[in-house]
Symmetry: C2
Subunit: 384 residues, 2 copies
Amino acid sequence: MMNFVFYNPVKIYFGKGQIAKISNEIPKDATILMTYGGGSIFTNGVYEQVKSALADYKLLEFGGIEPNPRYETLIKALPIIKENHVNFILAVGGGSVIDGTKFISVASFYEGDPWDFLSKGVRAQKALPIGVVLTLPATGSEMNAGAVISREATKEKRSFFSPLVFPRFSVTDPSVTFSLPPRQVANGIVDAFIHTMEQYLTYPVNAPIQDRMSESILITLMEEGPKAIVKPNDYDTRANIMWSATMALNGLIACGVPTDWATHGIGHELTALHGLDHGLTLAIVYPGVMKVMQNEKREKILQYAERVLKITQGTENERIDKAILKTDEFFRSLGMKTRLSENGIGQDTIETIVERFTKPQIVRLGENQSITPEKVRQILIERL
Amino acid sequence: MMNFVFYNPVKIYFGKGQIAKISNEIPKDATILMTYGGGSIFTNGVYEQVKSALADYKLLEFGGIEPNPRYETLIKALPIIKENHVNFILAVGGGSVIDGTKFISVASFYEGDPWDFLSKGVRAQKALPIGVVLTLPATGSEMNAGAVISREATKEKRSFFSPLVFPRFSVTDPSVTFSLPPRQVANGIVDAFIHTMEQYLTYPVNAPIQDRMSESILITLMEEGPKAIVKPNDYDTRANIMWSATMALNGLIACGVPTDWATHGIGHELTALHGLDHGLTLAIVYPGVMKVMQNEKREKILQYAERVLKITQGTENERIDKAILKTDEFFRSLGMKTRLSENGIGQDTIETIVERFTKPQIVRLGENQSITPEKVRQILIERL
């Protein structure tokens, strides 16, 4: 096991009816800015639950935060915060709303251009406290200190981390996810699954607890994921997916092990160039990473094949091929079209992406920083 | 899955050489009281490492905290704190030192008799900040907000909980555990194992992540435990046991599931009456709980048998019997004498303990509060 530091102070309220408790966690004299996205909270009852829980507060609203939340949108919240002396932000939505809210939180105290947090690695010194009401299990942002923000003007998508943006609390009520469209459910399941794989399928460092906890999440997502698509109102299924997604990226399974993140790196380019859903890009790319990087990942792929997929027959290479196939089949069982060609993407896009990874200053992807531009090409060609 | 609230703000520094980092976490102008136990820290190098890390601080010492830390000992720290304006306490030791330090932390601001926290359930309003350097993986106290304190004068052993006593940080360096006596290592492994079982082996509530995370800890302790006894200097073995023990009682595996704690309740009485090590009492009692409560625990015992012990052959009752036997064998493989008679304890002690559980105000033990005094008798008779 490698040395590590683990710290995660987010208070999780999990379950039915927990939205009613948020006033326990927000100072009585707070002026709250409630942030949200496209408005699904008006049809699934969440908006009413939040308003009711916060009836005694001064409550302002800032809606319209889009998927892949944009700098240009988010900075419009800053004058509202300043003029109204907002001192608490409540993010009501999925990962994009939470990530956007984290950016607003640090931007509201920053004198310069807050894009500096993303482009220059400026460390936040102060941030508005954040609470979360989660509506879409996927990114894990409700229990971590990271955020990914896009800038429309420059077509950039960047991330920042600050312990100041850990939410003070996050309410995760599985019943609010019943009404999600199947495509969003599938995206969320794949996002959580690949988050886990990025921290698990690397090379062994004798960390059996972390390995088995990752396998716990993977097996659960594989068992429960397809059920959520066909039985959207099953509470326990939704609950297990919701807790899986939170556990997949709260730092715990990364403790003491190497991490990969190549699939996220390559997938982000597919979103940037073709607007594909983040979850879908991961489902497209991951089997290619497994195939092309199978020698570096050999031991862990075989462990994954045996423990998660119960593949015990055949030579090592046969088991690896079968594991890749079954992983792809899992994504497809959720309704994903996991081939580039099925999404209208061809060789020309592959070359554009490879080109983006050839800049000398770019850190090579993968747990061993060994994914060269040529390997990126091979990975994507595998997925045509 | 049941509703739950999870909150754990302890920062964990895990690994070799991490003691040197504690000064990052303590304010530079702090006056620190370092608490410790019987003095093993003077022979295993930990005392020197701590002194060296804190060379620039005003550092006082309070040693002699015993196993099952006593009120009578702990209150002697209070005048030292007051006279020297101590504003940070660093616990250097195992669970007893940490638990005792948690008590000192809340007692130092309390006007009345601090035993009130244990006997009257008084809730602490203020506490001194605590840091931890862990030397014995066992109780999980380094990453939770509970403490068990004994009072010599009245032969009482009681617990209290307060979010104020979560350590600000805990350093867990596996290499400082190499020199532990095998008996303490075994006690720690059994303690962590039973902590996990108390939160796992109850009844199913469709919480597959939590179940599998518990199984992750159980399998790891069963694999690594015996190795630690025969190869005491194997870093990875010690690391895996140390992280298992922390994960076993930091609140995570209890999320959304029922919990038992009957074995701890009965085991405490064996310690109180005969001075048996806490871990040993758990190893004695637990197979009896499995046997006598097997109908209520049937589904989870069968799941444990299959997933943790790989028992797949035989009737349900045969698998249950085999699971109980193998659990007992695991404890014995660590050098434990798991029968009451092997520890000089007979029928008369059983009757004394049963008597203690007959008081009408006592809450019945077990996840269903169904362990009657007669069941306590049956459990202990099983273990004669």
